[in-house]
């Protein structure tokens, strides 16, 4: 039966596949940064689905902690990627 947490998990897998496809196939820099973030969101959804332990039972806190850490890492990495991309663009405009 297709319960909610299975659907979450499967959508997560779908997002990972979509993100992976765009990262590999598209040359545009911004698109690839976004695609990696989509992929990250997919992995986080998978982890959130993993935390489900049944109705009325509190969810497993460990995957939630992993997702929180993962979001911090993803935000920092995206910031660094955008900073580097801006640097490249600025040089293009000047030269």
């Amino acid at each position: 039966m297709l319960t909610a947490h299975v659907m979450y998990g499967l959508s997560g897998c779908l997002l990972v596949a979509l993100g992976l496809r765009t990262t590999l196939l598209h040359a545009s820099l911004l698109r690839r940064v976004l695609a990696i973030n989509v992929m990250g969101a997919g992995v986080f959804m998978m982890l959130i689905a993993v935390a489900y332990r049944g109705l009325g039972v509190p969810p497993d806190p460990v995957p939630h902690a992993l997702v929180l850490t993962g979001i911090v890492v993803a935000v920092s990495a995206t910031a660094l990627a955008l900073a580097l991309a801006r640097r490249l663009h600025a040089e293009h405009d000047n030269g």
């Binding site: 990262t23 990250g40 995957p63 890492v73 990495a77 660094l80 580097l84 040089e91």
Partner: protein, 478 residues
């Protein structure tokens, strides 16, 4: 003595923050941090040799909830290599970056990279490994971009995207493992993992992510530009240590955690990719026009040799022959770490003193920079795998294992790769020893030339002639 584990992470981290807050005495702080961290690495190696594997629970939280750190023979040896290479490269960096502003930007990232390397080698659970991999990747990318040129920033950005893609695949594998087994502790997983679709998919995802990060052929495309356009001390550490950190994880996963599930086909696949790396990397190193590019392609090839061990270790039954081969793998990795770091530092000296690193125009280098040329030759001995280098012992074990298990193909690949390596090293030395009357130029200072020389000597003499205890140490598992 288990406390020394936490010092290995805490000292460089405190050093990184201190150099960020106090940029003026930064060089002094780095020297103090480097010496303290290296002492801790030495102490750890000594304790592991005496007492066996060490465990440490950060903050007293048990594994599962808290962060478990552990050190066995393999991680202690690699930590020692990291310490020695980072120390030598730190000394060189203090002379390489001439301006104070450059050094202010460089030191905090440099020490953060050291922290990440140490934490990665000590981590006992998969999620902690993911975090340390990201820390390592982010600091490595920032360091690679420090050159500031268009090529350096573009290469760093590509390096970052590849690294992120690799980490995301690693994290997806982790979430599958947690869904299937409810734990991320590597020691627990090694006992509970069972062959099946979940474990298979997880291993495939994690391995693919790590192979991207360790630049195994054909996923190596990002490495040559990133390593060749970074500042020399950064290139040295990227090639010698950072790619090897991802390789260490592949090794842990395939030989420890997932050991029971590895099939001959999977191991052969890694071997074939390794063979491709050896041939492709060596050929491009031979054709390279710039020294740094040569060194970077040589890294692609040298990592290939390490992957040739996987099908051999898979085929050999547990016992003395397998232990010898595993030791050969580690000594080859250590030897490459020291030799490649030495080579990149020596190239940095040449680049700064001559204003270029064009191989065709190296004539007269041996007259002007004899110690640096000698360092290149020493590193070259280890890269080719000539005796008495550590790489010679490693390749000897590789050949012995290939003969024992009847896998002759790897023997052929190793022979061709070594011949190509000899060709690209002698091509450089041939030009360097070329005679050309040069006006007298100031000789390099000791801080620039000695680190490369010592690293080359470690790879060629120390690892070759005094490496017997290594095999005893490697038997100390966690």
């Amino acid at each position: 003595m288990a406390d020394v584990i936490i010092w290995l992470v805490a000292i460089p981290l405190v050093g990184a923050i201190a150099t960020l807050l106090l940029p003026r005495p930064a060089t002094l702080l780095v020297v103090a941090t480097g010496v303290a961290t290296s002492t801790a690495a030495g102490l750890l190696l000594y304790s592991v040799a005496i007492q066996g594997a060490l465990h440490y629970e950060v903050g007293g939280w048990t594994a599962g909830l808290g962060i478990a750190l552990r050190a066995d023979g393999l991680s202690a040896l690699l930590l020692m290599m990291v310490a020695l290479v980072m120390l030598a490269a730190s000394v060189y960096s203090s002379a390489y970056f001439k301006e104070a502003t450059q050094r202010e930007r460089f030191w905090p990232l440099w020490l953060l990279l050291w922290t990440a390397l140490n934490a990665l080698l000590l981590s006992g659970d998969l999620f902690n490994l993911y975090v340390t991999l990201e820390l390592l990747g982010l600091s490595a990318v920032a360091l690679a971009a420090l050159g500031g040129t268009h090529a350096a920033v573009a290469a760093a950005l590509r390096y970052l995207l590849v690294g992120l893609l690799g980490s995301m695949m690693f994290l997806a594998g982790i979430s599958l493992i947690y869904a299937g087994y409810g734990t991320l502790d590597m020691a627990q997983l090694a006992q509970t993992l069972a062959a099946g679709p979940v474990a298979w998919t997880a291993l495939a995802l994690m391995t693919a992510g790590l192979l991207l990060k360790t630049a195994l052929f054909p996923l190596h495309f990002w490495l040559p530009p990133a390593h060749a356009s970074a500042p020399a001390p950064v290139s040295a550490v990227l090639s010698a240590l950072v790619v090897k950190a991802a390789f260490y994880l592949v090794l842990r996963l395939w030989l420890d955690v997932f050991a029971d599930m590895v099939t001959p086909t999977a191991a052969n696949l890694l071997g074939v990719l390794g063979a491709g790396a050896v041939l492709w990397g060596s050929w491009h190193a031979l054709r390279a026009e710039r020294l740094k590019l040569l060194a970077a392609y040589s890294t692609v090839a040298q990592l290939g040799y390490l992957f040739l061990f996987f099908p051999l270790l898979q085929a050999l039954p547990p016992g003395a022959a397998r232990e010898l081969a595993a030791g050969g793998l580690v000594i080859l990795a250590l030897s490459h770490g020291f030799a490649k770091a030495g080579l990149f530092l020596a190239i940095g000296v040449i680049q700064q003193r001559s204003g270029h690193d064009n191989i065709q125009q190296l004539d007269g280098t041996a007259q002007r920079l004899p110690a640096t040329t000698f360092a290149i030759a020493l590193a070259g001995v280890a890269l080719i795998g000539l005796p008495p280098s550590g790489a010679f012992l490693g390749k000897w074990q590789l050949l012995a294992a290939a003969v024992t298990s009847g896998q002759w193909l790897w023997l052929l690949v190793t022979a061709i790769g070594s011949l190509l390596a000899a060709a690209y090293i002698f091509r450089v030395l041939g030009h360097a020893f070329g005679h050309r009357p040069y006006p007298n130029q100031p000789v390099a200072v000791a801080c620039e030339e000695w680190p490369a020389l010592l690293l080359g000597a470690t790879a060629t003499l120390l690892l070759g002639l005094a490496s017997a205890p290594l095999w005893t140490l490697l038997e100390i598992g966690s």
